[in-house]
């Protein structure tokens, strides 16, 4: 029988290795798997490469993982948010590598990894500093850069409800990167507000089919 629901952070994060590439959902705090990220500090994996739209804020969630010195490199589109102090400090101290890429390119590169696409051409970043060094080719009169898939060893994401088979639904704009990171990693771990049995989610409204999800952990929503 399939039951992807786990009952502890230890089970949820078991097996994540040093040096892993971790894809993280969220846009700001909406949809960010804050508790999973904090539990990853206890889990102990080091030398991580994190892919996340933002680079954490305050001292919680992703920022806590970075503060604990576990993140070697972060790939993001927008590391500046109000309160993004940890990334600022670590970067100034030379303690973290930062790679900034266009938001749609990061997202599409993860989808390419999910979809078995070996590479794709996009106009985004062509002729700019972020397109420098990338193979450029003209299609339909416009230069396009070649982008390669961005695959994760692990995805950590937050959704609203998960069922026994790992099917997920989300809440409003907290959906954001969740469905994409879920598809693009070898091991996908979701924290959800609530878990249900298989068949309790309407099959027409499932956003992330369970085939993409390995473990589902209920983490009660903070008030």
């Amino acid at each position: 029988m399939i039951d992807k629901r786990v009952t502890s952070f230890e089970q949820a994060l078991a097996g994540i290795e040093d040096g892993s590439t971790i894809l993280v959902s969220g846009f700001g705090n909406a949809g960010s798997p804050i508790e999973l990220l904090e539990a990853l500090v206890d889990q102990g994996a080091r030398d991580l490469t994190v892919v996340s739209n933002n680079a954490g804020e305050g001292e919680f969630g992703l920022a806590a993982l970075m503060r604990a010195g576990r993140v070697r490199k972060i790939i993001c589109s927008y590391p500046i948010t109000s309160g993004s102090v940890v990334v600022d400090e670590l970067h100034a101290a030379g303690k973290i590598e930062l790679e900034v890429a266009p938001q749609g390119t990061i997202s599409e590169r993860m989808r390419a990894a999910a979809a078995g696409i070996g590479g794709f051409y996009t106009r985004t970043s062509a002729g700019t500093r972020l397109g420098e060094g990338k193979e450029t080719r003209e299609f339909d009169g416009h230069p396009h850069v070649l982008e390669r898939p961005l695959k994760g060893d692990v995805a950590l994401l937050r959704a609203k409800t998960g069922d026994r088979w790992g099917n997920l639904v989300y809440n409003m704009t907290a959906r954001n990167f969740g469905p994409t990171v879920a598809m693009a990693a070898d091991l996908t771990i979701a924290q959800v507000d609530e878990t249900v049995d298989a068949g309790e989610l309407d099959p027409e409204i499932i956003v992330t089919p369970g085939i993409f999800v390995d473990r589902v952990l209920r983490v009660p929503r903070r008030a």
Partner: protein, 227 residues
């Protein structure tokens, strides 16, 4: 002495692990779903946008908006989900399925698969999702009779029919044997009771070796009801 199609399906079903995500090709492979051992939960994928495909419904519950890749009415099991075609082929091409079971005209010792066109084909060419499934799925097994009706071997040194994908087949289940495709070529894991390795070689169009302790390929007698 060989297995019938339901028995080949039964044999394949025994090898599918609990919790697997599986696509069954149109036609003979569809039979595999009927023989999954009790207690295993298998999620069947249909390329037209469905995970969690269940058995065909009773006549009076058929709905032509709920069909499988063979365009036959099916059902959805609890936990199933609908999605659109591009997401369905993202799953296929991206290697998210564990296994697909495909019919075959020919399989080469390098694992090349030919299952979408023959040179004598008088029908229009039609590939459907076969190339995506063959190229994208981590484990591809072929389900076929060991030889064509005219006795020509289907396991060959090289395929003569147009390829579906090169170097993708992991295992072949036939009426006569279970044959792995390995870097050293075809290796028989099981041979049907009463047949020698040499007799199997006579029916195989490529070099064939046997595993160290080849098993006997067998399946229970299966009534029409299950098939």
């Amino acid at each position: 002495m060989g297995l019938d199609r339901n028995q080949i399906a039964w044999r394949i079903a025994q090898d599918i692990a609990d919790g697997s995500y599986v696509n069954l090709g149109i036609g003979m492979p569809e039979l595999v779903a009927d023989y999954i051992p009790e207690g295993r939960e298998i999620v069947f994928h249909s390329e037209n946008g469905l995970l969690g495909m269940g058995p065909k419904p009773p006549k009076d519950r058929e709905d032509h908006d709920l069909m499988n890749a063979g365009k036959k009415p099916v059902t959805l099991v609890p936990g199933g989900a609908y999605f659109h075609h591009t997401d369905s082929f993202l799953m296929i091409r991206g290697g998210h399925l564990d296994l697909c079971v495909l019919g075959a005209y020919q399989i080469s010792e390098a694992g090349d698969l030919a299952n979408w066109a023959t040179d004598s084909d008088k029908r229009l060419p039609a590939v459907g999702g076969a190339m995506d499934l063959a190229a994208g799925t981590p484990r591809v097994v072929a389900m076929t009779t060991h030889c064509a009706r005219d006795g020509t071997p289907k396991l060959l040194g090289e395929c003569t029919f147009p390829l579906t994908a090169a170097g993708v087949v992991d295992r072949v289940y036939t009426d006569l044997a279970v044959v792995d495709v390995t870097p050293a070529g075809f290796v028989a894991r099981e041979i049907v009771d009463g047949m020698t390795l040499d007799e199997l070689r006579d029916r195989t169009g490529a070099r064939l070796t046997a595993a160290e302790n080849p098993g006997i390929l067998k399946a229970p007698a299966l009534g029409h009801a299950a098939g």
